[in-house]
């Protein structure tokens, strides 16, 4: 999982320019964007469902999906649809902020290494290599289990373990643009380092970095779900989709719906973010080819 996430899904559709117009999102990516927008709308209205999601009715334990409970009920008689909706903002917010932390650390480290080169690059690249040698889940579990359980712990655990992929990416982007003619022209005209970085390198590096960030959100949502599923994620009663899924193995013989519906929400969300990221990459790559 970690390797694929670090390298991004190696889709790289060489030669698909015949079908999609440059600079525009493909149809599938626009569909994914619609799904993402829909999810955030669900997250916005989710407080309306939080009372229902928390309501325990022991007489209604493990009811199969019906008109009254479209997704069925869980082991405490709570309505599963309401719980899945109430979990949406939690999964989205944690995924997005964790990806932001990872991108922020990764891009700072990677850009510094790429820009200064030499010893700085050597040291920072070793650091990236060290973290990449560890199985992501090993580090993630250790951080999540040893720090006090809270949403912040989950966010930082994910951010602190996934940044090396972003750092490699940012370093490569900066190396590509550092010695281009216009950058050197700006330097010889007396532009300061921060100015060159922000005005000349960032605009070129931004699209690929955006792609990497979008893939990062998908991966972070997945990582949070895995942690909560394993029982070291968010403390109860906060429940993300992974947290709801955590009880599914215990009732696998009697209540398949506990496994199916929260997982479906998770799968749809992760796919939407990944598709969006792939679409963004396709659109921005072709744009730069046409330049």
């Amino acid at each position: 999982m970690n390797e694929a996430a670090a390298a991004g899904f190696p889709a790289g559709r060489a030669g698909s320019s015949a079908r999609s117009r440059p600079g525009r999102l493909s149809r599938s990516a626009r569909g994914a964007l619609a799904v993402v927008a829909f999810l955030w709308v669900v997250a916005a209205v989710s407080p309306l469902f939080s009372a229902r999601a928390a309501e325990i009715r022991l007489n209604d334990r493990l009811l199969a999906p019906s008109r009254a409970h479209p997704f069925g009920t869980d082991d405490l008689g709570r309505d599963l649809l309401a719980r899945v909706i109430a979990a949406t903002p939690i999964s989205l917010a944690i995924g997005t902020t964790a990806a932001a932390v990872s991108v922020l650390i990764g891009f700072s480290v990677g850009a510094t290494a790429g820009w200064f080169g030499g010893m700085v690059d050597l040291v920072l690249s070793r650091l990236v290599e060290v973290v990449l040698c560890f199985p992501v889940l090993f580090l993630l579990l250790a951080l999540a289990a040893f720090l006090p359980p809270s949403p912040l712990t989950v966010i930082f655990a994910i951010g602190l373990t996934t940044w090396p992929g972003d750092a490699r990416f940012a370093r490569a982007e900066i190396l590509k643009t550092r010695d281009l003619d216009y950058t050197r022209a700006a330097r010889s005209a007396g532009a300061s380092t921060p100015r060159i970085l922000v005005r000349h390198l960032l605009p070129v590096a931004a699209p690929p970095l955006l792609v990497s960030a979008a893939f990062g959100v998908g991966w972070a949502i997945l990582a949070e779900a895995a942690l909560s599923f394993l029982g070291v994620g968010l403390p109860p009663p906060m429940a993300s989709w992974g947290g709801i899924l955590a009880v599914a193995p215990a009732y696998i013989e009697d209540a398949w719906w506990i496994a199916l519906f929260p997982g479906l929400a998770l799968f749809a969300t992760v796919s939407a973010y990944n598709l969006l990221a792939a679409g963004l990459r396709e659109a921005t790559t072709e744009k730069s080819v046409n330049r």
Binding site: E3, A4, P10, A14, C133, F134, G218, A259, G263, L275
Partner: protein
Amino acid sequence: MTRYIARRLAFAVPTLAGIVVLVFALLHLAPGSPVSALGEGSGRRVSQQAAHEMQRLYGLDRPLPERFARWISRVARLDFGESFVDHRPVLARIGEALPYTLVLNGLALLLTLAIAVPLGVAAGGRPEGSLDRASSAILFALYSLPAFWAALLLQTLFSVKLRWLPLYGVASDLPEGGAAGFLDRASHLVLPVLCLTYGSLAFFARLIRSSVAETRNADYVLAARARGLSRRQALWKHAFRNALIPLVTLLGLVLPGLLSGSVIIERIFAWPGLGRLYFDSILSRDYPVILALSLLGAVSTLVLTLVADIASAVADPRVRDGSIS
């Protein structure tokens, strides 16, 4: 060549040092200790005196640098100490779990390559063909599919509804000998191997596909076609061989991914391998086991990456002189 190997080895030394420091720092700077794990929350009451006893016994009352120095000197002799949980040597516990993980991940990796190589070559041979588009859509969906959810669905379908395969475990309670016993064990392997396979499948198949798609129109492949080789032969003997080099380079980095996957899959399928050992050790704060497993995991990745890099330098002179990485 020798220069390349020497340079690559020299780079590995600081990385190795970084790994050792990170492993130690991660566990010893984190709040909470094995003693506190025995206290609140575990339901057991430990008196202040007993807690101090334990700290002294495990050397947890010593200052950090001293603990680090002691730990390094023991690790250098491959002495990882005893598990806090059952007081058996850490290496013995790891040795018991290792074969289970090797079988699971070895089979998964073989199956992955057995599907990914032909699929990647076929799809890359005709980019944007119907096979390429269909496989790309399916692989993309698989890439976004959470492994633990897939495991739950497969268990529901094949173990609970159809009753074809066992839900979890290594073998049935009543051990059977001969062919029946072998079939029983094999049936326990099916679902965990499937779950571990599909995730890395997308990664490998797409990687091979894009290298083959890139090289299929290269001059040397066209020359092979002109000499009268069939399309199939040209793809497999020439285009695919070139795709092997990035594949070999990446094999080293696959290990951490496999170990990560093992944590989740071994937990769901109650498989007594390294992933489950690590997870159990995290929950019980079994420091010696956690330290040993993270260290061994990271160091074997480093070694594998080194071997892969050197192998690709042997195979490809462009890697040696640094014109491609």
